[in-house]
């Protein structure tokens, strides 16, 4: 790989630092910073089959044995392989929390966990909260308090709320806000989501 060093920081690192993200590859390939787009860096196609492993997962009280690509995230495997599409991907870079699931009792961004790291882990997704027809109190409260507007962040908000109540059955409003602060809601329904979690706490307690 061509790695044009300049002033102690590689171009790739610099652009990563700027948050170039998806345009990153293309930005580098065009050599923008040296002003010569014609001198593009193009990597050779590897063509090699991507590395895969078999892992064991317990998701929503069910055991799965699944072959995953090493580059696949837990969020991708849940959605694409297990069909559990209630877990959403909003940013795929650990910022928005739409992909939040509960792993061994903690709320975690599933977009930021490689699936291969999850071997032997116990995972709960939004689909696993209800016990049969009986919704979890957090889900019930989200219905009553209009927690979802567009609903795309809702699974994540509920999972973070649930994870909080597992640790702290009587949270204060400040604690609830803090616990949900990793879950963005662009519809801006923050008042409702916090109210729902607090209402669920009174039901649980």
């Amino acid at each position: 790989m061509e790695d044009k060093k300049g002033k102690g920081v590689s171009r790739r690192d610099f652009l990563k630092g700027l948050g170039g993200g998806a345009v990153g590859t293309a930005v580098i390939s065009s050599g923008l910073l040296n002003g010569d787009p014609a001198r593009a860096y193009v990597p050779e196609a590897s063509g090699a089959a991507p590395a895969k492993s078999i892992i064991n997962l317990k998701v929503n009280r069910k055991n799965y044995r699944v072959e995953v690509e090493h580059r696949s995230t837990l969020a991708e495997v849940l959605r694409d392989e297990l069909g559990l599409t209630g877990t959403k991907i909003g940013c795929d870079r650990g910022e928005c929390g739409a992909c939040t699931v509960i792993i061994n009792g903690r709320n975690i961004y599933s977009c930021s966990q490689l699936a291969v790291w999850m071997d032997g882990k116990e995972i709960v997704t939004i689909e696993g909260l209800a016990q049969g027809d009986k919704l979890d109190p957090v889900q019930e409260a989200f219905i009553e308090h209009d927690g979802p507007q567009c609903g795309f962040c809702t699974s994540g908000q509920i999972m973070s709320g649930k994870a909080l109540l597992l640790k702290n059955s009587k949270p204060t409003e400040a604690q609830a806000r803090r616990a949900l602060s990793g879950n963005l809601c662009r519809c801006g329904n923050y008042n409702r989501e916090v109210a729902a979690v607090l209402a669920a706490a009174t039901k649980v307690g």
Binding site: G19, G90, R186, C187
Partner: protein, 738 residues
């Protein structure tokens, strides 16, 4: 205050969404959740340069990558995207490219990682063209030309330029003023940033194209795609059942829908095209930034005599929407002139974001009015009350207008008279401030359609073309149907968002769903009620006109005890179908608006520049509230978006490379739970004679006043006027130090 002609059964109550269960259990299937057999994944390659001619695209290495099934680009795929640009013809891939982010190619492969890898194998040779990022620079004669006619974005009709509007006599108005003030206010480009990334799933079956889209409007998405692909409407089906937010940037059909369809055609397989979050920030659009130069004349008592507004709005490389600034529409201005110049630059496209022409514009005008009040020693509450709009454009009456009550009730709730103090009067580093602004959003009725099928067991099935982008539109339509039919809500099934199954809808934009499709639901209900009453009349041995229905019981109006259940009337009817296409309108010389008055209290830490909003009151005149629960959520949410725009959000573009440097949530600083104040919502309930059940518009008004309200509260706290958004801590610290 106008009252409803009769008492409602369900309208006005707090009703949980009809699809809330699906939304809290993960069962709601959004576009990205849909999988079809043989589906490929697609990714988009974007321009890395702001302005360049593409000399060549070499896709050979990408095509050789195992798993890659289709690569499209300007050299092999030239599909126009009519709604993507209204001044120069825009294709899904353009040459020259006109901004960093302009699509260059798209790849479909057997999985998304392969598609992503393939993008890196595409070799693009650019020949650079000079570029311009600043709209004022772009208007200079020697600036690089982005459109064929230069950089003033001149289209036709709604896309003409400059946008000009005037009434009264400006010179006379300024002559009558005791004082004339001039100043400039600046707003920045902010992204809609809805949590659902753009995604489209397209498949072809025997020449028929089906697109599972993430769109705010299935009907207009179908019209767009049919037109640009040269297909009859019958050969295009658009489906969108659940939609993860858009706030204006998923209107109609977008280029990614086209790319998915084109890739699916080439590959001969269904294609799901997914945007990354960065794609979403730079590849679609955000709110147009603006530079607003005002001249305002006022009398000694604060009464406005004349306003002139000269502005430029930065539309980026293509003109998708108007670029107008309409914040002055909520103020009584006897003599007025505005000249708005929508300008092309080599930057990310700007178009619709919730109340497109309002919050940035209200920020400028209401901040300036607040400043003028300060300079003239007038309490802002009196200033806004005195200059609130009574007659549209100084002479046209409104269908209803309770802005005065919004101001009165909102100011009472926040405790304005006790809490307001002179700006910057607090000593110490922690400063309390209180501020307000007034605004709103246009309301008018329009074209809609609906079908209601009544089953032999007395349940009903409502079919509407609306999408539900989070507003609760599905629930609102079901509530309207329940009220109009006289059938309980739980007896109503609703199908939405499928052009093969549901009738026309305007699309969920411009706060028009309820105002346009609502009347059609009412009319369809009336249509099917007539059929029900004709059948029931035989059983009850009365005339059909003598019957009414409520709670699923058909009864004789003069003797309600004489009744039969609906299912008894229709049990042998097979199925009754009510349908309507309606197009109500205002009489000539009438305007409609929802109005808002917003109030905020802030604590400003002048050492750190941190602003904490401690209290927020939003008083709204939206006519009748159809569903209090979802309407309040709309207001709370719109205010939050306004707070982000006021305090933190801005898409930054590097001046040297023209690369957007913060196209993600963390760096573009979208508000989180921690920044959210409790938003107290007041509805000034009334009955607008032209709204369905008296309702006006709810979705867009909440954001319109929020930015100015926060800015004015910060002024009251610090005594410093911030004329450039967003009002970030560094600006506050710097201003207070001076």
């Amino acid at each position: 205050m106008a009252q409803a002609p009769k008492e409602f059964s369900i309208v006005g109550k707090s009703t949980p969404r009809i699809d809330a269960y699906e939304r809290v259990t993960g069962q709601a299937q959004y576009t990205g959740d849909i999988q079809v057999a043989g589906m490929l994944y697609a990714r988009v390659l974007r321009s890395t340069v702001p302005h360049a001619k593409i000399i060549s695209i070499d896709t050979s290495k990408a095509e050789k990558l195992p798993g890659v099934k289709a690569v499209i680009h300007q050299g092999n795929t030239q599909i126009p995207w009519s709604s993507g640009g209204h001044t120069h013809k825009r294709f899904i891939f353009n040459n020259p490219v006109r901004y960093v982010g302009d699509p260059v190619a798209a790849v479909a492969a057997t999985n998304r990682h392969i598609a992503e890898e393939a993008l890196g194998l595409i070799e693009v040779k650019y020949e650079k063209i000079p570029y311009v990022l600043d709209p004022n620079e772009a208007l200079k004669p020697d600036a690089p030309k982005i459109g064929p006619n230069g950089n003033l974005s001149v289209g036709t009709g709604a896309f003409s330029a400059p946008i000009e509007e005037s009434w009264g006599d400006l010179e006379k108005g300024f002559g009558e003023a005791d004082r004339v003030f001039e100043d400039t206010y600046i707003s920045k480009h902010v992204n809609n940033a809805q949590i659902e990334r753009r995604v489209s799933l397209a498949k072809w079956d025997n020449g028929k194209l089906t697109v599972f889209a993430s769109t705010q409007g299935v009907s207009n998405a179908r019209t767009d795609i049919a037109k640009d692909f040269g297909l009859p409407l019958s050969k295009v089906r658009i489906v969108c059942k659940y939609m993860g937010g858009g706030f204006g940037n998923k209107n109609q059909a977008q280029d990614y829908d086209y790319m998915a369809a084109a890739l699916a055609k080439v590959a001969g397989q269904p294609v799901k095209l997914e945007f990354t979050r960065e794609d979403d920030y730079i590849g679609m659009h955000g709110r147009w930034s603006s530079e607003q130069r005002y001249k305002i004349g006022v009398k000694k008592d604060g009464t406005i005599t004349a306003v002139s507004l000269d502005a430029v709005t930065n539309m980026g490389a293509y003109r998708k929407q108007s670029g107008n600034l309409s914040g002055t529409d909520f103020y009584q201005i006897p003599n007025f002139k505005k000249v708005i110049k929508p300008v092309h630059t080599n930057t990310v496209v700007a178009a619709n974001y919730r109340a497109p022409a309002y919050p940035q514009s209200v920020f400028g005008f209401a901040s300036f009015l607040d400043q003028i009040a300060f300079e003239m020693g007038i309490n802002p509450l009196d200033m806004f009350m005195r200059n609130r709009i009574r007659m549209s454009k100084s002479k046209i009456p409104f269908s209803s207008n309770y802005l005065e009550q919004c101001i009165i009730e909102g100011s009472k709730r926040i405790g304005w008279s006790e809490k307001w103090h002179k700006p910057g009067a607090m000593s110490g580093p922690q400063k309390h401030g209180i501020g307000m602004a007034i605004a709103g959003y246009p309301f008018r009725p329009g074209l809609g359609a609906a079908t209601i099928r009544v089953n032999p067991d007395g349940t009903a099935h409502v079919l509407v073309g609306v999408t539900d982008i989070g507003t609760g539109a599905k629930s609102t339509m079901a509530i309207i149907a329940s009220e109009a039919l006289g059938i309980p809500l739980n007896q109503i099934q609703l199908t939405n968002g499928d052009t093969d199954a549901t009738p026309y809808s305007i699309g969920e934009s411009g706060s028009r769903t309820t105002a346009f499709t609502g009347p059609a639901v009412v009319a369809a209900a009336e249509d099917v009620r007539k059929q029900i009453f004709a059948l029931a009349a035989r059983e009850l041995k009365v005339k059909a006109e003598e019957l009414d229905m409520r709670d699923g019981q058909v009864f004789v109006k003069v003797n309600p005890a004489q009744k039969i259940p609906l299912e008894q009337a229709v049990r042998n009817a097979g199925e009754l179908i009510g349908r309507a296409t309606t197009n109500p309108n205002f009489p000539k010389e009438m305007d409609g608006k929802s109005f808002v008055a917003h109030f905020a209290e802030v604590e400003v830490d002048t050492w750190t520049g941190h602003v904490r909003i401690t209290r927020y009151v939003a008083a709204h005149d939206c006519g009748t509230i159809l569903n209090r629960l979802t309407a309040e959520s709309q207001v709370k949410g719109g205010v939050m978006q306004g707070i982000g725009m006021a305090l933190t959000e801005e898409l930054l573009i590097d001046k040297v490379t023209a690369i957007p440097i913060n196209p993600n949530y963390r760096d573009a600083k979208v508000p989180t739970h921690l920044e959210a104040p409790e938003v107290e919502v007041i509805f000034i309930e009334n009955y607008d004679p032209y709204g369905v059940f008296g309702g006006k518009v709810v979705g867009e008004p909440p954001i319109t006043a929020a930015v100015a309200t926060v800015a004015n509260a910060i002024f009251n706290a610090t005594g410093k006027r911030f004329k450039v958004l967003p009002i970030t801590p560094d600006k506050i610290v710097q201003a207070v130090r001076v």
